[in-house]
């Protein structure tokens, strides 16, 4: 196993997950959250991450470098 392929310990929607590095995509975060995108418009979902003082967002197709302990929030924001 190459060093950049090592597993990272993260949290997705509060639940601990182990995922392969070195980056994680919008789509993989949703998969780890138990959301099946098949037949759905990915724009229905938001993915946000935070780690320490840093935070960011992923849009469909985007990825972010993984760090142990990163937290992800994945879900919709379409209700009024």
């Amino acid at each position: 196993m190459k060093p950049e392929d090592k597993e990272f310990q993260i949290f997705v929607n509060t639940k601990p997950r182990k995922v392969p590095g070195p980056t994680i995509s919008f789509e993989r975060v949703l998969q780890e959250a138990g959301i099946n995108l098949a037949g759905q418009d990915p724009n229905l979902y938001d993915v946000e991450w935070t780690h320490g003082n840093r935070a960011g967002a992923l849009t469909p197709g985007q990825s972010v470098p993984l760090e142990n302990g990163m937290r992800f929030d994945a879900g919709k924001s379409n209700r009024s």
């Binding site: 929607n13 759905q40 229905l44 946000e48 960011g56 937290r71 924001s77 379409n78």
Partner: protein, 395 residues
């Protein structure tokens, strides 16, 4: 009900009868042509302005000693500044439509200064004119006597006197947009109205075809009676009547916006979209972006963590203007049938937060609050109590 313009109260009439040049500009009273010493051996003229309030046609001074002055800080005849004696504050401001150079707070030794506007204003005029008369005995604020009354039409049925008292009209005026629409009056839309109704926007148009049900009452600001929650009133009409108790200019449109009527929004200066239905969001957002009408779209989501019996939730505010049209393509516009959880759990605090974030961002976009980050998009994640934003150049 709005007060109708009436004859000036007796103290104001006395100023006019004695020959002063008086004007009433909405919440201010102005005496023009007041002589003062502006430099050694130099007499100049300025206007004294006071916040002005009436009750049943009688002017009410309250306990405010201060006035604004359009001249510089007055001096003694030899040119010594009266800044300390008059407790002058030299912040420039626009008050009653005039540029003021200072604010004076000079309390009288004898009582009665605040009994009426005649006493208050002549107290300052005597002080300023007294020094001017040492240089020029004929300098006087007294002339032929005149009054002009310009009632500023307010949308509110009772004035917010704090604004006049502090001379904050230049800030308040930024909120006087002609026309705003709120599309969708669920929890979030009704809280947007709650904040927006208290700003002096001239017209607020409410679009929603839903009727109030008992569950709705758990999402809206305030407390509905049993009858209000059960008699099948349209949300748009109920909210128009509720906020119509304090202000004019709220109009209800109990209908859905679709392709046939979306052009009704063309005359709006700003629009809030607070709806669930994705395809409608897409239709309205694309139409507004094409017309160059700035708008904010809001939305939230809530999900179960079943084994913990806890919820995760998030709120989103997206501001779209001419430079951020591309954000329209990122909005959730798909038809989403999966709404069982959101519809059955009441989280009014998140509706309120989502709405308040939207109204604050709106106030930044119209220049009321500073917007140092040029924010295009806000996300609030409950589990982290974290608010993050994307600046426009990043989105």
């Amino acid at each position: 009900m709005p007060e109708s313009p009436t004859a000036p109260s007796p103290d104001v009439q006395r100023l006019v009868d004695e020959g002063y040049t008086v004007s009433i500009e909405g919440d201010y009273i102005v005496v023009d042509k007041v002589p003062y010493v502006s430099a050694p051996d130099t007499v100049s003229y300025g206007a004294i302005i006071s916040a002005y309030k009436t009750h049943n046609g009688i002017a009410q001074v309250g306990n405010n000693h201060t006035v604004w002055f359009t001249g510089g800080v007055p001096c003694t005849p030899t040119g010594q500044s009266l800044a300390n004696a008059l407790v002058a504050d030299t912040n420039r401001a626009t008050v009653a439509g005039r540029q003021v150079l200072c604010r004076l707070s000079y309390k009288a030794e004898r009582p009665g200064m605040l009994d009426n506007y005649y006493n208050k204003l002549t107290h300052y005029i005597r002080k300023l004119q007294g020094y001017a008369n040492v240089i020029d005995a004929s300098a006087s604020a007294i002339g032929n006597g005149s009054i002009s009354i310009r009632q500023k039409r307010s949308v509110f049925y009772y004035p917010n006197m704090a604004i006049a008292r502090e001379g904050l009209d230049a800030y308040e005026e930024k909120l006087e947009l002609p026309k705003i629409a709120i599309i969708g009056l669920g929890g979030t839309g009704s809280y947007i109205l709650d904040a927006l109704a208290k700003t002096p926007v001239q017209e607020i148009h409410l679009y929603d075809d839903d009727v109030i049900e008992s569950a709705t009452a758990y999402r809206m600001p305030g407390a509905l009676t049993f009858e209000e929650a059960h008699q099948g009133m349209r949300k748009a009409e109920y909210l128009r009547d509720l906020y119509g108790r304090m202000r004019a200019g709220i109009e209800s449109h109990p209908m859905r916006i679709d392709q046939s009527n979306v052009h009704e929004l063309d005359s709006c200066d700003f629009v809030f979209i607070a709806i669930d239905h994705g395809p409608s969001r897409g239709l309205i957002a694309r139409h507004l972006a094409d017309k160059g009408i700035p708008f904010i779209d809001v939305g939230m989501g809530v999900d179960r963590i079943a084994d913990d019996v806890k919820l995760i939730a998030r709120a989103r505010v997206t501001s779209i203007g001419s430079e951020t049209k591309a954000l329209v393509d990122r909005l959730p516009v798909a038809d989403d049938q999966d709404d069982a959880l959101y519809n059955n759990i009441q989280i009014a605090e998140l509706n309120a937060l989502n709405a308040m974030l939207a109204v604050i961002l709106y106030k930044q976009k119209i220049g009321f609050y500073a917007d140092e980050m040029n924010i295009g998009d806000l996300r609030y994640i409950v589990a982290w109590q974290r608010l993050s934003h994307s600046a426009l150049e990043q989105v």
